[in-house]
Amino acid sequence: MNIWLIMLIGGLLTYGMRFSLIFLFGRFEVPDTMRKALHYVPPAVLSAIIFPELIYPSGNLNLSFGNTRLLAGIIAMLVAWYTKNTLLTILAGMAALLILQLFYT
């Protein structure tokens, strides 16, 4: 699918969800289960992306110490856990990757 079509459909869906209940006020309530389930969207979707990025770095399974992206990712997780600072996490992870790549090449 063309990127413009993806953006258009994705944008329309997003707009539709933002508009939905403002438009339907009084005629539809968000079910409790859905309200609950929505809390788990960010950890679920983002982890579903993070894990393969770290463990299948170039499309192949790599659980060795030579997997620099996995090691740098683990360092970033520790930084995120202790600092809760987004920019610091990104910088630490990038720095770790660049330094590890120097060691392995």
């Binding site: 953006m7 969800m17 403002i22 929505l38 950890p43 579903a48 992306i49």
Partner: protein, 233 residues
């Protein structure tokens, strides 16, 4: 100044701390979108067509991974489902507005516009001009997002393409996820989704991501049942 003007600037003022926080993300998005292979106009216009930070980051990652269109669209829908909650939450405050205002304010209804607006409405109640507050908060965020995206695209074009800049995307996601892992259902949702994503990695069309996300959401919801919900999105 008119009452509506005052409400507008109050919205802008309430948004300023969030603008400062969002600006670097707009720049990171702009730089990464180019790096992932989006054209300059596509990268810039996604910020006004989709206008949702986390969905744009996820889209960029999936374009980089060459995921098929329907998987990207489905993922955008799941990531942005939470906007229905904001829509439901603000609906009683906006119910007397014209359809034009409702349509415009819906377009500007992001996480960052919702947060200060609902606080203001709950505290101040509703007045004939209070929709201008949401307009001020939402419009300033929109403007800030367009400018920061453009700056990111401009600076990103100067970064050598052999730098592993694509790694900044998973790092951004790590920075978003790790701090919200504060209770067992959240941790279980994240780890189960991650494990399924690994096991289902070889599924065609990157369908593993959708399967993994749905698994994580289900696991978290089931574990939470019976307990009071904790935390925000």
């Amino acid at each position: 100044m008119s009452e509506s003007g005052k409400a507008f600037w109050n919205g802008v003022r309430a948004e300023i701390p969030l603008l400062i926080g969002v600006f670097p993300f707009g720049m990171i998005y702009g730089a990464l979108a180019l790096n992932a292979g989006l054209s300059t106009p596509a990268a810039q216009l996604m910020s006004s067509i989709v206008f949702a930070g986390s969905a744009q980051f996820v889209t960029t990652q999936l374009v980089h991974d060459a995921a098929p269109g329907f998987v990207i669209v489905l993922t955008i829908a799941v990531v942005n489902l939470r906007h229905m909650l904001y829509s439901a939450s603000l609906a009683p405050y906006l119910k007397n507005l014209s359809l034009k205002w409702k349509a415009l304010l819906s377009y500007l209804l992001t996480d960052e516009a919702y947060a200060p607006t609902i606080l203001n409405y709950e505290k101040e109640g509703i007045t004939p001009v209070s929709h201008w507050f949401l307009f001020g908060a939402g419009f300033s965020l929109w403007f800030n997002w367009q400018v920061s995206t453009a700056l990111g695209i401009f600076l990103g074009a100067a970064i050598p393409s052999e730098w592993p800049l694509d790694f900044a995307l998973p790092l951004t996601f790590i920075a978003m996820v790790v701090p919200i892992l504060r209770n067992r259902p959240m941790i279980a949702a994240a780890t189960s989704a991650g494990l399924i994503a690994l096991l289902a990695f070889s599924l065609p069309y990157k369908l593993g991501i959708i399967l993994a996300a749905l698994t994580g959401i289900t696991v978290g919801t089931i574990l939470e049942s019976g307990k009071s919900p904790k935390g925000m999105l």
